[in-house]
Symmetry: D2
Subunit: 342 residues, 4 copies
């Protein structure tokens, strides 16, 4: 019998991406979709690209009978999520896609998000959802916190290197290039086609991007000491995709070896041959991550470039991967469709 799924916040991009991925999943069945402002509407009117699917209409969260639900994906806006999840049944298994449960320490949450956490006890219980590094904990978790899409991309490039100590931990620079869908369906001038296409600029500069909270927490954990990277994202005129360029001090060949070893058994993480660099074109719409390592003419320097699709592996695909683990399915179920190219 299929597992029954609710998606809270189905009218945003990550909610829609979840439905897209679940459409071909043999073990999950969508039984509830919520969208506060659009409650009562058929999903096809919000997302016509899903009109061929037989799906429940959007409802309000309080209308959902959670007794019937095996797992809920929570794709609500940041800050909203924590209040909603606090009030959900304590035995409901949840994959949250917001930023609300990524940081374990309430002080860190307050520092990066500017206000106290509304559910600090649940916050402590949440498992960080970077699947390849928290697999066992995720299997038995009640609440899994999906990672930031930038934080995921950077960690795939850096985490094994930080853990192995093969790079200078005090000189890690992460120059990110991001597509726009990571900003969600927000109505902002800089997200308009007229303002965003045909150009690029940095944003959240100077070490202010909130995903730094995740980098600090996770890389320090991996290193066994405090790690503070430099990280600036750039907004690119494309919808999907993140390219993380990491500028590192260390031996490039050794870096390549460490990453290759770390990921050799992973279904979604592909380390390219040494000297080869990845393209976001090659992962679009998929759950795959491509990682390339190159040396430099300057000795002792290396560049690691990692790419993923922010809506899939960076968010909803990762969420489904985690849900597979939590419900006892093979981790890759529903996620092996190739990227869409061109």
């Amino acid at each position: 019998m299929k597992k029954k799924i609710a998606i809270l916040g189905a009218s945003g991009y990550t909610g829609a991406e979840l439905i897209r991925l679940l459409a071909t999943h043999p073990g999950f069945e969508i039984t509830a979709l919520t969208g506060e402002r659009k409650a009562g509407q058929p999903l096809a009117s919000v997302f016509p690209f899903l009109r061929h699917m037989a799906l429940p209409d959007l409802t309000r969260i309080e209308e959902v009978d959670f007794g019937d639900i095996d797992l809920a994906f929570c794709a609500l806006p940041h800050a909203t999520s924590q209040a909603v999840i606090r009030d959900l049944p304590r035995d409901l298994r949840i994959v949250d896609l917001s930023a609300d449960f990524r940081l374990r320490d309430p002080a860190d949450y307050q520092k990066w998000y500017g206000k106290p956490h509304a559910a600090p006890d649940i916050q402590r219980e949440a498992v960080y959802g970077l699947t390849e590094f928290y697999r066992d904990a995720i299997r038995s978790a009640r609440l899994v916190a999906g990672t930031g899409c930038n934080a995921a991309t950077g960690q795939y490039a850096l985490r094994p290197l930080v853990a192995a100590g093969v790079i200078d931990l005090d000189d890690i620079i992460l120059d990110l290039k991001c597509g726009v869908s990571g900003a969600g369906r927000a109505l902002k001038e800089n997200l308009l086609h007229a303002e965003l296409s045909e150009g690029t600029q940095p944003y959240a500069v100077g070490g202010t991007h909130r995903h730094l909270g995740e980098f600090d927490q996770e890389l320090s954990l991996a290193a066994g000491r405090e790690v503070r990277i430099l990280f600036t994202p750039h907004l690119l005129p494309m919808n999907r995709g993140i390219l993380a360029t990491a500028w590192l001090k260390g031996d490039a060949q050794r870096i390549h070896a460490v990453l290759s070893d770390a990921y050799c058994a992973e279904s979604f993480l592909q380390v390219l041959p040494f000297g080869t660099v990845p393209s976001t074109h090659d992962v679009r719409g998929s759950n795959f991550v491509h990682i390339g390592v190159v040396g430099d003419r300057v000795p002792g320097r290396a560049m690691v470039a990692a790419v993923l699709d922010n809506l899939t592996k960076g968010s909803s695909g990762q969420a489904l991967q985690n849900a597979n683990l939590m419900m006892g399915f093979d981790e890759t179920t529903g996620l092996m469709a190739p990227p869409v190219f061109p």
Copy 2:
């Protein structure tokens, strides 16, 4: 046991799209991939987005053991295809994606393609691959000729209307808007990003586009009389998608009723509620077709707009749909993945 598949011409976009779709097909297994100029290379070096798949290396056609193959997709360039297919084993079942076998009459072929056909007897035997209208013949066909992507889009909008006689057959205007991948991986100045992005223009104007040969053949057949439409495509700054805007004389409500009836049992053809228009965004990367009908303030006039993804439903998805029929699978197998949005 899985059916064994060869793809001839796997280094172009339609070949790659076939592999993408076959990746999640439960009944087909790719056992040969050919690419003349790139023979000997792993496919991952030609299409890195497919690098996670275990696939045979590219070979030359003459290296393929066709005795082992259940069905061959032929994704070769126009004109090349007919010479290759002429020399393939006579009992091999083939889905051809080129233009070579779309026109039944050798004189028509010569008229539109400017030279005599190299295999006129095989030409006569081929079944036109517009699945929804040739289903039975396709099931038992040895050779199915994939339709032109523009011709498919236009026919989905027009064919039931022409057959039912609910529109003026002497005044059909088809204004097409096409993404660039339909032109293939050809190295031409006008296909460069710098020349194509951020603008649009008509091309193949004045009734010269070769897909008119298909429209003439198929719409005349459906009407039982000669039909000659006006058709001009426009090249748009996008990769996938065709929008066919048909300007028609007829009663819009009746047109909507005829299309709704004709397609009500079809898995991939979705007629939108009356007055609603489709977007290519909503079918990208999928095998679905969305069709909308609207009336006009000028009485007796109607507009039908149809959208599909030229690489999927307009080419490789249609090819797989036909192959499913030929091999006894459910027609939708491997093709129900939703579009990718945004």
Copy 3:
């Protein structure tokens, strides 16, 4: 001495485009810029691309001393414009870029804009700003109403043909392809990069687009009888540019001759050699219009394709062209810069 210019509504795209064009104009000097919500801000904070210019800060309209102003461009939103202009000094010369004064008949205004006009007497006095057809009236006008960008493009393709009677006036189809900047800086989901890029769809279908009011008024005037065209625009993933494809009944060669004659003395209107079609790429950022005419394999049919940049010739460039006439400058002053390609 330079003429003093005010721009009311300088924080939108047409206001910014005016400033861009005025930057190199030898006879105009910008002395006031207004923007209600952004009053008090330097323009460089609203439009950083203009930061090298010495410009007055944004103010509120009531802070402008109009006694000092020779000519005001009014780039305010539709409906706002009429109330503002009603209260401006009666001797101030004005070029309005909104839709408010395009229709001469108050009943037509009410029909297309859904409410009564707030300044019907001024409405009657306004001159329709399609420069090439209203040159003399514009020279002496107090108030010139800038045309709709779609209406301008269509009229450049059609107006001489309608006047000369060389096409069937009862069967004119105008299939438009538009860039997104024509929609202004509005915060709407369908204008987001994520929703607009990589795809296309029709909008304002069925004869409902407001620019039809202009087509009805102007083409009927040119024809000396009522003319009602069919017109549907399509939104394209590009920022600037309109391509109007007109499907006509008439002799293509004669159509080409009529257009060539009509425009042979025009600086900005370029009729291409017969059989050649234009591209929006070739007019981007400029005040030029390119027009192509082709015949069809179906006798008696023709296609006229016209392109322009909606922000320049379709709006702010046209406004400046009109202001040149009103202030006694050569019509082309400040407007001869070539398009930007690629």
Copy 4:
């Protein structure tokens, strides 16, 4: 009397951009345009966007009467340029836009370009065309070598800092984001719209990009010691624009002060307020450079971001700026048109 100009290699993007800029220049007159493969054609057939201009047809170089020419722009491909310039009259003043004369040392040329220079004596004579740093030498130069577009962008960000010694010279990282027009009109798969739009990737990785030759030469000169930066460009889905993100060790406020001082008298170089970052959108189609400086949460670290349009300030605009100096015009003549936004 106007100065007579020849453009050698007028059928590429930089040639076309030169014509665009010269169109509104009061002191220059184009009297010869060459294009070997397209000799005999009117320029309007190669670049329809220039069709309103009265221009000479394309000829072959040997057909040009250089006795009549005051200054030649040489926009030929790399390697071709040196052979052509070697054979031009020795008293002809030349602005070369190729890479051929950027490096002073023949050994450096051979190292980066893989073969000996064909005109080493002329190579030694050429002045490096980064206007703001070589103004006096350019005024009297016979041959000015236009800089690499990436090299220009990086130097605007770095050069005053290197000269002032306010950054760690052994730890300069330059992460570049480039539009595609910098690659010219070359027919390559990765420059096709279908392969380039909607994604990004690094290229010329590991310290192999040829513009490093310029960085090495010029930054070492500025520093008075050898400087070797790390530099990797990334190809972005946009036509025009380069964003150089420099990751530096130094005091951000001091860096901002040095850049502000260095450029305070420059017409085209705009240093933004401290903490503000630039966008390529804000310089597109113009000769302006915007530069921003930000600090980081990690003390002692700074990021400098510089943007320009590779075809204008990065190539043809710079060339015209230099030609202005060489011919005695004000340096900004014909170059003050604002960017095109959106």
